[in-house]
């Protein structure tokens, strides 16, 4: 039977996977994918709590917001990455040291 715990476990694994990707990978696009995973874990949590805890649609709306923000963020992030690639000829994160003092 599918309970709240099942959803939370899935969400937890998604979150962990996202964190692991963000810390481990050097590719900026991969890191952005990791961020997507974390956002998805958050959205899944909202949807699950709405389904099992209270019967209004707040959680759904929040999930929709997350999806929209994730999309916008992905667009902006991708634009930065492309520009970065044009300048540096690479998307390796250790080369992005311009803001380091």
């Amino acid at each position: 039977m599918i309970t709240l715990t099942s959803y939370l476990l899935i969400s937890f694994f998604l979150f962990l996977a996202g964190v692991a990707v963000m810390v481990a990978r050097k590719n900026i696009i991969a890191i952005m994918l990791g961020i997507e995973l974390i956002l998805n874990a958050a959205g899944l949590n909202f949807a699950a709590y709405t389904r099992f805890a209270n019967q209004n649609i707040d959680g759904h709306i929040m999930s929709l917001f997350i999806i929209v923000i994730a999309a916008a963020e992905a667009a902006v992030g991708l634009a930065i990455v492309i520009r970065f690639f044009q300048v540096k000829d690479t998307i390796h994160i250790d080369d992005a040291t311009e803001l380091q003092s």
Partner: protein
Amino acid sequence: MDYTISSIAPIVLLPFFAFVINAFIASRFTRTAVAISCAAIAGSTIYAWRIFSDFVFGTYSANYHIHKVFTWFDLNGGGQEFAVKMGFYIDNMTAVLVMMVTAVATLIHIFSTWYMKDDMNYGRNGRFFTYMSLFTSAMLGLSLSDNLLSVFIFWEIMGFCSYSLIGHYYEKEVAGAANVKAFMTTRVGDVFFLLGIVALWTVVGSVSFVDLYNAIDAGGLVGKAVIGIPLATFAGMCIFMGTIGKSAQFPLNVWLPDAMNGPTPCSALIHAATMVAAGVYLSLRIYPLLDAGGLLTFVAYIGGITAFGAATIALVQTDFKAVLAFSTISQLGYMVLGIGVGSYNAAFMHLITHAVFKACLFLSAGSVIHSLHDHHTHAHVQEMPRMGGLRHKMKFTWFAMWCCTLAIAGIPFFSGFVSKDRILGDALIEALHSPVMIAPAVLGFMGALLTAFYMCRMMFLAFHGKPRDKEVYDHCHEEKFSWNRNLPLLLLAVFTLGVWFSGSLTGQGFVKVADKANGKYEWFQTLIQKPKKGQFENYKREALGSIDVREKGTFTKSKYDSTYGLSEEEAHHIHQVHYIGAGMSIVIAFTGVFIAMMMYLWGKWNPGFWVNTFNRYYRTLQGKYFMDEFYIDGLIKKGLLPFNNILAKFDMGFYDRFAIDGWAVVTRFTMRISAWFDNLFVDTIMVDGTGASVRLFNVILRTIQNGKIQFYIAIIFLVLFGYILAL
């Protein structure tokens, strides 16, 4: 007459300004310097004459005095006033002294323009006149001082000037040695003098003469003691040591004959008017202190020994100026003897008369020396055995010098008789009253005999008889007339006559003072009165017109007050003794002259016989009692040097080794400990430790802040997980 500080100060300041101008500007232009010096001292004389005439002819009173005080500087610390005051104190004695100093110094200055003209022509600058001005200025300042401290200041300036003047011919080695000797010998006395001033200051709280006299009157010195000696005795003794040094009294008389190495006019100034007189003047000023301290007997002994001892040495001297030098010491001995026997006014009178005739004697000697000056070798002929018969060539000098010789010999109608006779008379009174005073009186009378003898011997050897050295005689040339030589000699010779100082034959007084009540005495005797204990109190009372000072005062009678004219009977007795003393001294003086004539003028008694008979004594006298040898070989080489060596050994062996080197060991040890502490604790732990800790934090922080985004994220999540787990 009204006096202010500014009407008295020029007496001192004019010669002083002359000194300053000469020293810094004019000494290169010799003739200008001479003119400035002479003009300054002449100006002082005019100011001095104002005061003198006022005291003698004007507002004369035995008790009239001027005391003007000004504050030198004021240390007003903590609300407590501490003002150092200086001032002028002019009484009868000062007025006469200042007149004498300025007048004699003026004549000496004028004479110097003649005597030193070769000096100037040979390219020396005006150094001589520069120091003469300072010297005179210091003497005048000393005379006018109202306190012991400024006396001491001027006293020391005079010491320095005598040093400079005695060493005027600095290229001569003897002159260089003589000025050091004069300076160092008088310094011995000066140290004691300063000690006396300090002793008085600590007790009386002031060094002003007036305060000092008042303290003596009030009995302020009674019961006070310094190192177990009564204060008056201690301070009086110390200050009298200053007199002994400056006036060349017995133990410290060795410097004065050597002072002959200076130019003769400066000898005249030192020996007659200024420096040696200053010593006697100081003793006269502190007479009440000497009296209160019971020192007069001691003073009399010092004076008697000096008077007699120096006279014996003068018997055998062959140097023209050396005879005069020893006669100066001898005459100063008379003055001190006079102080010692309480003959205050006679001692001061002898100071004045001696100043006049001794100045004249020295200037005459300078005239002789200058005339015998050998222009080829530039050697001065001063040896009397090479002179003889000079009276044919130097009539004027011969005449002037005889006047002074008769004066110093104590022949009647000359000034020396008046003053010396009075001292001897008082010595006789003292000798009749107390056996202990017999010795000084006898020494005094014997000295008078010798004085008459050796002065006439000098005159006969130099001026009479046949020329002994033909070359010297032929060479001798006295200038016909030169006002700047003849005028001072003439004036001084005129003032060796006794009438200026004593009464006329009728006893009415040749120069009358304004005090009609005492007109029957000589002006000098009337003018100069012995300060008695309590007299200053009576000064005040008499000024108020309530009591006559000649009445018996309420003051304590000292030993000498009782001998002076308090009862008719006593006065009569004193007069009688004075007549006896005068008679004795006349007989003695003529005896001395007679012996000298027998030996050196008529050649009846052969001096060589006496020399051979008393050969040992003769050599002792020629060796000046070997006092120099005693001081240098005995006192310094045998006494002082071994003592110094012991001190030096102590210094090297103990003080240097233990105190200084030992201290170095201690210091080095402490230094090591502190260096170790410094290195380990301060440097290593504190300073370097601070640096190291800062660097450590720096490493940690730098490691964290590596700018790697993923590292930050990892940290964030690790912290987050840690936080969650901790919950």
